[in-house]
């Protein structure tokens, strides 16, 4: 009997079933203005309804105009997920009534999405996976409803600041089989969106919203079970847990001889369980029809070429390059590419000092840098809000030569890491002391050389200096010399310790050991 892969811990209920999961992602695009009007999208913290105009309020007589930048970002996404890009696309009206929908319809793309038939590949704990992407299209966001009490009355208030913000919807084929795959898919999509600058894609503040359609079928069967839509997952961890929970819940229902109902369920993070939001008695009829206020949009091939030409290296390509050209392990490559700060530091350091071994740089980035930046809270901007800096403001990923090294606490500049690794390579800094210097630099932004000097950590590698110290120690430790000669190898360790003590720890331990051996063995002969 085949188990549901990846549904660890829930295996006993779900074991007889295969999960079939489709993922819908809504992502807020990084544009300065709204989808169909000139209102600014920078309304975070602004007063309700301060970022509105007749168009996004849906007043009588207004007409939409297309945000070119939003179209461009969806096309870039289409290229990044290897999708077919329609030479001509159209807009459709999706009709339904709700107080957060000012026009009573949402302008969306139904029949001719900007991008279709794409794919996204990523690794999971069970190996590489490719998920087919059915479509990526543009639409507008709704207003925000706030439920409040005013003068003792329960009321719903509408804030239209969000109304009309460009949203991209990315829909997969039902290719996802496990909760882990679902989370990994969402994470990989976020990486791609950030890499191309399409979105900051932060789940915590709703820039990336993930919904999953989950159904189970007996393992080995073709026909699909009843779909349940799972919503309200506010983190990647929640995506994985909610889907795992939903798979298990449906399996329990089926194992008890019941049937799964077509419904929408929400994820309750506190209770770690899904709950019923809405029963779907029939498919919603949105009465889609072509938006008569917008002519069909033709995408000029030259424009597409231009977008393709400015597309940066994508996460998948970058991981492959790290493995194949730079010799990194798959793990190191994945860890670095998953974190924009780590990627920036890794690429920058190699650009700064091409002579450094990529593997050595990677060890520092995945080890000390990520450890400190993840532990650092406020002092670690890349880890807490990796996408919050605009691409223009962010340091370029490569080609740091000529850029002034900026000293910022909570950051490590590529120049600093390169300087540190050079000191280690040249034998001027011990590995242990290097970690101390790195941490001090991370905390203060102070230059590496200055830290080394101030703390007296520069390593002594000068052969004459070491030889003199060795001579003194040997002269002062006849018993240990005798023990060594009698075959007690551990006596060498004592003598090394004595030399290190004599040099206040600054001697290069390897060189000391070499010099001691040479002297002892020579005199012996």
């Amino acid at each position: 009997m085949s188990a549901v892969p990846g549904a660890a811990g829930t295996r006993h209920e779900a074991a007889r079933y295969e999960a079939v999961i489709g993922i819908e992602v809504h992502c807020k695009l990084r544009t300065a203005s709204k989808m169909f009007c000139a209102c600014s999208t920078a309304y975070d913290g602004a007063a309700p309804n301060s970022h509105t105009c007749p168009v996004c309020l849906g007043l009588p007589g207004v007409l939409p105009t297309i945000n070119r930048r939003a179209v461009q970002l969806v096309l870039a996404t289409g290229l990044a997920i290897d999708a077919e890009l329609a030479p001509t696309t159209r807009w459709d009206r999706k009709n339904y009534f709700y107080p957060d929908l000012p026009k009573g319809y949402q302008i969306s793309q139904y029949q001719l999405p900007l991008a279709a038939d794409g794919r996204l590949a990523f690794d999971t704990s069970e190996g590489p996976v490719t998920i087919r992407i059915r479509r990526a299209h543009l639409e507008e966001d709704t207003a925000r409803l706030v439920h409040a009490e005013l003068g003792g009355r329960r009321v719903s208030l509408v804030d239209f600041n969000r109304a009309g913000v460009p949203l991209m919807e990315v829909v997969t084929e039902p290719d996802v089989r496990t909760a882990e795959q679902a989370r990994r898919y969402a994470e990989e999509l976020r990486l791609v969106l950030r890499a191309i600058g399409a979105s900051d894609a932060e789940m915590e503040n709703g820039q990336l919203r993930v919904e999953a359609n989950v159904s189970l079928r007996p393992a080995g069967r073709e026909e699909l079970g009843t779909r349940v839509e799972v919503k309200n997952m506010n983190s990647f961890r929640a995506v994985e847990r909610a889907i795992a929970h939903e798979i298990e819940r449906q399996a329990e229902v089926l194992n008890a001889g019941g049937s799964v109902h077509q419904e929408t369920r929400g994820w309750d993070d506190a209770r770690q369980a899904t709950y019923l939001m809405r029963i779907k008695e029939s498919e919603d009829d949105y009465r889609y029809f072509p938006e008569p206020d917008l002519p069909p949009l033709r995408v000029a091939p030259a424009w597409l070429d231009e977008i393709g030409g400015t597309l940066p290296e994508l996460p998948g390509t970058r991981r492959a390059r790290y493995r194949e050209a730079l010799g990194l392990s798959a793990y190191d490559a994945a860890v670095i590419v998953a974190d924009p700060g780590a990627t920036e530091l890794f690429e920058g350091t190699l650009a700064e000092a091409a002579d450094l071994a990529p593997k050595a740089v990677a060890n520092w980035v995945t080890g000390e840098y990520l450890r400190l930046s993840r532990a650092g809270g406020a002092g670690a901007p890349e880890a807490s809000a990796p996408g919050s800096t605009a691409p223009a403001a962010r340091a370029p990923l490569a080609g740091h030569a000529g850029q002034p090294a900026t000293a910022i606490a909570g950051r490590v500049t590529p120049a600093a890491l390169a300087a540190l690794l050079r000191l280690v390579a040249d034998g001027q800094l011990s590995g242990t002391n290097a970690k101390e210097v790195f941490a001090a630099h991370f905390a203060s932004g102070q230059a590496v050389a200055a830290i080394v000097e101030a703390r007296g950590l520069r390593q002594i590698s000068d052969a004459d200096v070491i030889a003199a110290a060795v001579d003194r120690v040997l002269a002062a430790s006849p018993a240990a010399v005798a023990d060594y000669r009698a075959g007690k190898a551990q006596a060498l360790g004592f003598l090394v310790g004595q030399v290190m003590k004599a040099t206040r720890g600054q001697a290069n331990a390897g060189a000391v050991q070499g010099a001691l051996r040479e002297r002892l063995d020579r005199t012996e002969a």
């Binding site: 007749p54 309020l57 849906g58 007043l59 009588p60 007589g61 207004v62 007409l63 939409p64 105009t65 297309i66 009206r93 009709n95 009534f97 107080p99 000012p102 026009k103 009573g104 319809y105 719903s156 509408v158 498919e283 009829d285 009465r287 889609y288 029809f289 008569p292 206020d293 917008l294 002519p295």
Partner: protein
């Protein structure tokens, strides 16, 4: 009554430039005329005399400056500077009202200007107020206005046509020389025909729809109503042109020729020589009134006499026009009217202790009139899952065929088509209210032109039973100036006709103090009908 109001707009432009009148004097004279006869006509839903006089004073100031600068500066002024105009009450003007003839928009004040309102202000036209219309432009009689019907100045117990009936009546009754209307299936041309004036629906995309309350987005066009071709051309010139805020407005230059229609009759008449006109046989629809057909055929003969060749042609898909139109227009309307939910503006009903669905139902149930609800239902049905392909999609395909009918004739070298505008003259209040299809048939000769996105113009060609008859000219896209030159030529060759010297027959009656309002006349007619039908229903004693 001031003689000034009997002048055309281009005559007023001459008087203003020569200093023989002022914009303020024109505005006051026209406002007085509204005051004198609008109780009986009800062409207007709102007047803003204070703002109008301010605009008039600004126009006078601009005239003064130009007069000081010399003839070149005067020539550079738009001919509409200082000329009073009316707007159909679906044009947004900041701070004014824009009811679209609906209770659901009562109290709504647009916080922004329509593109055409900006254009008119730039030209210096003086907006007197807003005119009555069928609710959301759905209707052919203006009886579907939530604020009561408008009377036809030629016969006060008859409709002015619609949906731009208030604009047409206001122009015919000398309340303004020019008015803005909108035309989705004939809503400018049919009332122009029924009121004996000129009305043009431009090519789809010629005039920006930004700020115009939408009925059916792919069919709606803004256009001018005036008392002659030159006036209509000047108003079209003022409002036409690309507007970035309307993605469907075309980046095609507005021809200056619109401002240079020949003043001289002989020169104007020469335009017809050698022109090749098609006479589509399908437009002589069954049930067309004989008087209308007679005037139309006489009009065609006059065009021929002036040197045009007229050939009978066929537009074979015309018979599907009405059915197709009544799928597409209501479908678009059902979405366009979804925004009237009582949440952000306008009429709103709050059901205590109920959910928002109940508020929607109450607001829309009480806010919309019967015809609007009928069309929302039609459109919603046509777009519903399982019906979309059979109705909406099919209708779009037929629409393509209707357009192809016209294209084939342009390819054969026709300059324009000549046809009746409306199969009937103005009908009595109530005559078609009980029978929606009879009302819809009013637009059988105009709506194919909207379906094809073409320019069409209606102009008077005489009277039948004392009521105006309209002749329609239709041309290929962007040929508005050519069409208006043909209308101007027709005006020149018929300048001597007796009917041209007649004022609307019942304007005098309308000026009687305490004359019945159109609503009163309509209900009196309805009461009379009820007596007649109940008498007929009982056996004679």
């Amino acid at each position: 009554m001031s003689e000034l109001t009997r002048r055309t707009a281009h005559e007023m432009a001459g008087l203003l430039r020569r200093g023989e009148t002022s914009a303020r004097e024109l505005a006051e004279a026209h406002l007085a005329e509204v005051e004198r006869t609008d109780r009986a006509l009800h062409a207007w839903l709102s007047l803003d005399p204070e703002r109008a006089l301010e605009e008039a004073d600004e126009a006078d100031a601009r005239l003064d400056v130009a007069r000081h600068e010399g003839p070149a500066a005067l020539d550079a002024l738009h001919p509409l500077l200082g000329v009073p105009v009316a707007l159909k009450d679906l044009v947004s003007v900041r701070g004014g009202q824009a009811t679209a003839g609906s209770r659901i928009l009562a109290g709504y004040r647009p916080p922004y200007d329509a593109h055409i309102a900006e254009c008119l202000r730039d030209a210096g036209a003086v907006i007197l107020g807003k005119t009555n219309m069928d609710e959301f432009a759905m209707g052919s009689s203006t009886e579907h206005s939530a604020f009561g019907p408008t009377a036809n100045p030629w016969a006060l117990d008859r409709v002015p046509g619609g949906s731009s009936g208030g604009s047409a009546a206001a122009v015919a009754a000398y309340h303004v020389p020019l008015a803005i209307g909108t035309d989705t299936g004939g809503s400018i041309r049919q009332p122009a025909a029924l009121c004996g004036i000129v009305g043009m629906k431009p090519t789809y995309g010629r005039v920006s729809r930004y700020g115009i309350v939408a009925f059916a987005s792919s069919l709606d066009q803004v256009g001018p109503l005036g008392r002659d071709a030159r006036d209509a051309a000047a108003l079209l010139h003022a409002v036409a042109g690309r507007d970035e805020r309307d993605s469907t407005s075309a980046p095609i230059p507005v021809p200056d020729g619109l401002l240079r229609l020949a003043a001289d009759d002989d020169e104007a008449a020469a335009e017809l020589r050698g022109k090749r006109l098609g006479l589509p046989r399908e437009y002589f629809v069954p049930g067309m009134e004989p008087g209308v057909e007679a005037r139309v055929r006489e009009g065609v003969a006059a065009l021929e006499a002036a040197g045009a060749t007229v050939e009978e042609v066929s537009l074979p898909h015309t018979e599907y026009g009405l059915a197709t139109y009544y799928i597409i227009a209501p479908a678009e309307a059902s979405a366009n009217l979804a925004r009237y939910d009582g949440i952000r503006f306008g009429f709103s009903v709050r059901e205590p202790a109920a959910d928002f669905i109940a508020d929607y139902k109450a607001t829309r149930g009480q806010g919309f009139g019967a015809e609007v609800k009928r069309r929302i239902m039609l459109g919603t049905y046509a777009l519903s899952a399982g019906y979309y392909d059979a109705y909406y999609l099919k209708a779009q395909k037929v629409r393509t065929l209707i357009k192809a009918d016209f294209d084939a004739l342009w390819a054969r070298g026709f300059d324009a088509l000549v046809a009746p505008t409306s199969p009937s003259v103005a009908f009595r209040f109530g005559a078609r209210m009980a029978d929606p299809v009879a009302m819809y048939l009013s637009d059988a000769c105009t709506l194919p032109v909207n379906m094809a996105g073409l320019p069409g113009v209606s102009f008077p060609c005489g009277l039948a039973d004392g009521l105006p008859v309209g002749l329609q000219l239709i041309a290929g896209p962007w040929r508005e100036a050519e069409l208006l030159r043909l209308v101007r030529a027709y005006e020149a060759v018929t300048a001597g006709a007796d009917w041209r010297r007649l004022e609307p027959a019942e304007l005098g009656l309308a000026a009687v103090p305490d004359a019945p309002t159109p609503a009163e006349r309509a209900s009196a007619l309805a009461a009379a009908d009820r007596v007649a039908s109940s008498t007929a229903g009982w056996p004679a004693t």
